[in-house]
Amino acid sequence: MVAGIPILWLLVLFLIPFLIVFRISLSEVRLAIPPYTPLFTWHNGSPLLQLHWSSYAFLFTDSLYVSSYLYSLKVAAVSTLCCLLIGYPMAYAIARAAPASRSVLLMLIVLPFWTSFLLRVYAWIGLLKNNGVVNNVLLWLGVIHHPLVLLQTDFAVYIGIVYSYLPFMILPLYANLEKHDGALLEAAADLGARPMRAFLRITLPQSIAGILAGSLLVFIPAVGEYVIPTLLGRPDQLMIGRVLSDEFFENRDWPVASAVAILVLLLLVIPIMWFQRLERRELEAK
């Protein structure tokens, strides 16, 4: 009975909403409440199922949507890689620190979450804008003579995403690294491996599960990011989260918006399945 609760949870809060969105995506837009065509219409006394796949066709043909999908995947992938390159050394350092310091360091990583996410992203605007802190410092130092365009660029989006999602990479990595047996590194050194070699051949392979977990936690939400690209990103290239929101609120085209959402889900299924396959292989190896 208790085992049924998670299933019930997923049913009510995931499956049913998913089916609702899917159903809307198979309609056409119309000026009415609700603003989409019904599934069933009555024709001569018997129900007729009306499925419109036109929304999906529209998405595949219009270059705006295709480029938005690809751009979202690219930004999420690059951000995940940056989070990994920055987060791994940090997680490693915390795992190697004295036990007393570890809790303090972890708290420092998590502390920014205590403030509003939106405010933190806004803070980056203050830092990156033409008249912002970074430009003013560089101008004052004489390193540059004209302000750098940092805001409303891909670069700003990467900074925003990496900054916001870094703890999601660090914490799973730390959880994995903390469990590593120090004796293994001593054994490796005893057998002739210098510290870097020992890291590459002993620590890194054993931390793959942590890398996968952290990457998943960064990549999936990053694909659908809305706030960061809206505040910090380019106006000429939208990420899919913004596209979806515009479609829903600006164009009031619920079917197309729903189709966008379903396609994002399908797109993400592939990396999720791939990650899970890698994770299973890791577990089997133990």
Partner: protein, 385 residues
Amino acid sequence: MNNQSQVDTPPVPVAADPNAAYVRIANVTKRFGDFAAVDDVSLDIRRGEIFCLLGGSGSGKTTLLRMLAGFESPTSGTIHIDGEDMSAVPPYERPVNMMFQSYALFPHMSVEKNVAFGLEQEGVARGEIKRQVAEILDIVKMGSFGARKPHQLSGGQRQRVALARALVKRPKLLLLDEPLAALDKKLREHTQFELISIQQRLGVTFIVVTHDQEEAMTLGTRLGVMNHGRIAQVGSPSDIYESPANRFVADFIGSVNMFEGQVCEGSGDCLRIASAELGCTVRAERARASAAGATVWTAIRPEKINISRRPPATAPAAAPENLVRGTVREIAYMGDMSIYLVQIDSGKMLRVTLPNMTRGRDRPLTREESVWLSWHGTSPVVLTE
């Protein structure tokens, strides 16, 4: 003919001293803050021997082992291995390999890759690595387990792989940290002898750290007993057991009966000691000379004491020596021998062991029986510290 006087005498080669120290530990101290884990230890270990460092927890034996491996640096003192000073040498450059107590096998690598790891660090050719790995796995009798992962092996099998991994590079020195601690009794006995035979076959010098006396006595060609960071005694197993140098060693190894007493007279190599605790005079032969009146301790091993219902015929009627009366309080039947706890007049309990020589012995000793305990003059060991 004239050349005869001008012929140079050929140089006489200096014979290598077979007992020259292969590993020389000189005045090594290791401090952690104020605490000296290893306190001014000096030790020479000979080539090709199995040297056992024996001690309880906190005795410093593991710290000393880790300093040999290079995981800790001595606070003061030097360590030389085969003539080379190891002070600035990191563990990955030492001709030393270690078998860890937890085995520390790499969980994500197969048995073969685990054993090959050390050779790969040296840049040995792939084909040669395969050959050497197969050879060492055969020696430890794990030849058919090459593709398995550590989690698919039993404890004893993991231990062999750990041993193979540490031996494949034929190091000058192999360090073993409590090698038999994780094995059950039967396997332990079997593995003890296997270790000795592998060591003799390969000729590698072993240094074993253990808290188990039996293990040390069986494995070691020489033992070093450690106490609170210092060496209490170094010697062969029989030296340590039969001639302990101090009370700690006498008490640590096996069981012992210890009494305080004063030296009455010492003539030649024979000491007479009066012990109120024991209630008789002890005549100790083969004892070091001591000044009369000096306080000494006498140690007698349980198996060296005879129990009889009547005093031995040779005992002089007056002023008996090496003879005392007591009452049997406890008997522990161990199968091959029996342990008797006998209380003497002073109230002290003596521990005596007797082998059960006769099957179905008639009239065995019973509790509360009055008995005479005696021992030969060579049995007592006189200790001054």
